[in-house]
């Protein structure tokens, strides 16, 4: 087996296995494995086709359209794009947000974190986690969860729904809302709307706390598997508040190397390009960002819940902070470097989001009427937000006619591009190398990808029944065999 598994020494002698889920708008992913006759793995690559046309598409559009238009980028976390673009446009119009505007934006964002994390953990991942990665495929979906663990399934559905209601109230609609505008927001939260959310919030906090418990239990029950599955060391990047606290809406950038040494801290993100650079590779459409100070070879890093929860100094809400401390202490800290530790960290963030929403709902500023501000017009705007999946960067240049002339986006899936490749290579080494391929073994690869929660149809297709094709090709690239998983979940060769 090759060492790094990124590039095989003699690819011409190997056969190819491709895991190629059918695409949807968010971009799609494909995993290719190169195997030799003895089923030894020589190369593993995750190819992600990203919807890059967007940066071109938005050129020439008026800047105030961007926060709404960018939501078409992604059907999974449109609110994150809505807010990152709005933050960039705040800079363009020279605004300092009013307290009402900032709190309503935060409410919207934490609503999005809640709904996305719930969707991810309960709908997409709990079947793998609760039944086992190579459990019976027909059952390994949310319907199976609902049958075996009805209470867990119900809580997952209702947690997500609550997050969606927070979004609807702050953004105007559950999807493609318009609530956040350059310099502020276009509506406040009325007393009726607040009370509507308040009546369920205690339950939401309690369920979120229980969800952290489920994630912990999974580790306790399968310590070896959870600690070691797809484990690798990585540098980290995330945003923190001025005092080092976890803050998913605003702050400075923090990067640490894999040994915990700080590379930069509280870095003003409006010059992110001085610390982050994007590399391209011939075999993938998606860019590979790296930390400039470490260089393209070793400077790749990991973003998302696991980086945020392990790298912040504390979480500024009571229950989530307690959960963080327990997470760090668990088994000598082993979960903090585990790929499946993502899920535990994600549930801690969901609990934090529920607590933040609870606090905000009691804040009278939500009913304020001072919604928009502006100042001196700027040419360049950068907006960064910690989206559910990780750091999201929006960067625009706007000309004197108010038209966008340049746009650069770095989404969390791009930040994690190399890290996800590392994770699946590790899984291939651990589980696939030298074995006969089965659907259950291939699902191990998907489990690793799903831990990151990338914006891929392959990771998010509902009910764990994404159409999937596995091709076995000979050295000439001709198809020798094909395994197909159809959308009804059946797997045949």
């Amino acid at each position: 087996m090759g060492n790094d598994l990124e590039t095989a020494a003699h690819p011409e002698k190997l056969r190819r296995v491709a895991i190629d889920p059918v695409s949807r708008v968010e971009g799609h992913g494909k995993v290719t494995l190169l195997l030799d006759e003895d089923d030894r793995v020589h190369q593993v690559r995750l190819h992600i086709v990203e919807f890059r046309g967007f940066e071109k598409f938005i050129q020439g559009r008026p800047y105030w359209e961007a926060p709404v238009m960018v939501q078409r980028l992604c059907g999974i976390c449109p609110v994150s794009h809505h807010l990152a673009a709005s933050k960039a446009m705040d800079m363009i119009v020279g605004a300092t947000l009013t307290p009402t505007a900032e709190k309503i934006r935060r409410l919207m964002h934490y609503g999005q974190i809640l709904q996305s994390h719930a969707l991810h953990f309960f709908h997409l991942c709990s079947p793998d986690l609760l039944f086992g990665f190579d459990s019976e495929m027909a059952k390994r979906n949310i319907v199976g969860i609902a049958a075996t663990y009805p209470e867990i399934a119900r809580q997952g559905v209702l947690l997500r729904k609550f997050g969606q209601e927070v979004i609807r109230i702050t953004a105007g609609k559950r999807i493609h809302g318009t609530g956040s505008i350059p310099g502020g927001v276009n509506k406040n939260v009325s007393i009726e709307e607040r009370d509507y959310l308040l009546k369920d919030i205690e339950q939401v906090v309690a369920w979120s706390r229980e969800s952290v418990g489920i994630a912990r239990q999974l580790f306790e029950q399968n310590l070896d598997l959870y600690n070691n599955f797809g484990r690798f060391k990585a540098h980290t990047l995330n945003m923190v508040r001025g005092d080092g606290a976890l803050d998913l809406y605003h702050g400075g950038l923090r990067a640490r190397d894999m040994d915990g040494k700080t590379l930069f801290d509280h870095y003003d993100y409006s010059h992110y390009w001085d610390v982050i650079f994007e590399d391209v590779k011939t075999w993938s459409y998606m860019k590979f960002p790296f930390l400039r100070s470490l260089g393209p070879e070793t400077g790749w890093y990991r973003v998302g819940p696991l980086s945020r929860v392990t790298q912040c100094d504390f979480i500024p809400t009571l229950q989530a902070e307690q959960a963080r401390v327990e997470f760090l202490a668990f088994n000598g800290g082993s979960a903090t470097g585990a790929t499946l530790g993502f899920h535990w960290a994600r549930m801690i963030e969901m609990l934090h989001a529920a607590e933040v929403i609870q606090d905000l709902l009691h804040d009278p500023d939500l009913q304020g009427n001072d919604l928009v501000s502006k100042g001196e017009r700027q040419e360049r705007g950068v907006g960064v937000i910690e989206a559910p999946r990780g750091t999201l960067i929006h960067h625009y240049k706007v000309d004197e006619n108010d038209q966008i002339v340049r746009c650069n986006l770095i989404v969390s899936t791009t930040h994690n591009n190399q890290a996800m490749n590392e994770a699946i290579r590790q899984v291939a080494r651990q589980y696939i190398d030298g074995r006969k391929l089965t659907e259950g073994l291939l699902n191990h690869i998907e489990v690793a990808i799903r831990a990151f929660d990338p914006c891929l149809s392959c990771a998010t297709h509902a009910l764990g029944k994404m159409p999937l094709e596995v091709e076995l090709l000979d050295v000439e690239g001709d198809r020798v065999d094909v395994l197909t998983r159809s959308s009804d979940g059946s797997f045949c060769s």
Binding site: G60, V68, H176, N186, N401
Partner: protein
């Protein structure tokens, strides 16, 4: 006693000189329309207002009302035709409602909802139409122009300026502005012009307004176009007694 005609079985009184659509709207009966505007001379170009009179299809916005006409409007045959017309307008320009700032205030979108246009219908042409953002306060997004000439009429008839005109024929027909440079900044348009208020879609826009009015508070979020069109119509106050629809309207 006024003269009358029949519209879908209802008796519609009219004044001499009124068109079929004017008399119908005045009497509280909606006929779908796009290029017709109560304050301007009829244009007769969009054909949304097409009705059947004595078996013939005609544009009700240009057809003079006559006593004894038998007019059909609310019939599936005509609504199917209207749906196709709306679909063609959507296919011809670049109309992306979810990210259009006119969404909720757009007549074309409102008609689409009202006529229950649920599918695309035609292959989209995706024309390449760059914006004119040269004016400091006004943006022109030609992607959405439906060539109704309301701005042309408003600018010449009300503003006395002739800022807008249509140029070209057939599929190449397009809106131009009256300046040698071809740029709006070199015309004498101003934010307070009538031409700024009449565009039924999102072409002529005051800059930096965008999405400042939230979803739910936009014009057609409240009531469908079929109900609102009647608000704007000059009312028949003595159409055989009291007209409930006229109460409280000027």
């Amino acid at each position: 006693m006024k003269e009358t005609f029949l519209l879908d079985g209802s008796t519609i009184p009219f004044e001499p000189g009124q068109t079929v659509i004017q008399a119908a709207l005045a009497a509280g009966h909606y006929i779908p329309h796009l290029c017709y505007h109560p304050e301007f001379k009829p244009h007769g170009s969009c054909k949304l207002c097409t009705v059947k009179i004595n078996g013939r299809t005609v544009a009700s916005c240009t057809m003079p009302a006559e006593a004894g006409l038998q007019v059909e409007s609310e019939i599936e045959e005509l609504n199917a035709l209207r749906r196709s017309l709306v679909q063609m307008l959507f296919a011809e320009g670049n109309h992306f409602c979810p990210s259009c700032e006119k969404s909720g205030n757009c007549l074309l979108q409102a008609l689409g909802y009202d006529l229950e246009v649920h599918a695309t219908g035609f292959r989209h042409l995706y024309p390449d139409r760059p914006l004119d953002a040269s004016h400091p306060d006004i943006l022109l997004d030609f992607n959405r122009c439906i060539l109704c000439e309301l701005c042309v009429r408003a600018s010449s008839e009300v503003d006395g300026k002739n800022v807008f005109a249509l140029s070209g024929r057939g599929i190449t027909k397009h809106l131009i502005v009256n300046a040698e440079s071809g740029k709006l900044s070199d015309t004498n348009i101003s934010l307070t012009d009538k031409a700024m208020q009449v565009c039924p879609v999102g072409v002529i826009l005051p800059k930096r307004v965008g999405f400042s009015v939230p979803i739910g508070e936009r014009r057609y979020d409240q009531r469908p176009i079929s109900a609102q069109a009647l608000d704007d119509a000059p009312r028949q106050t003595d159409a055989g007694g009291n007209c409930a629809a006229c109460e409280g309207t000027p």
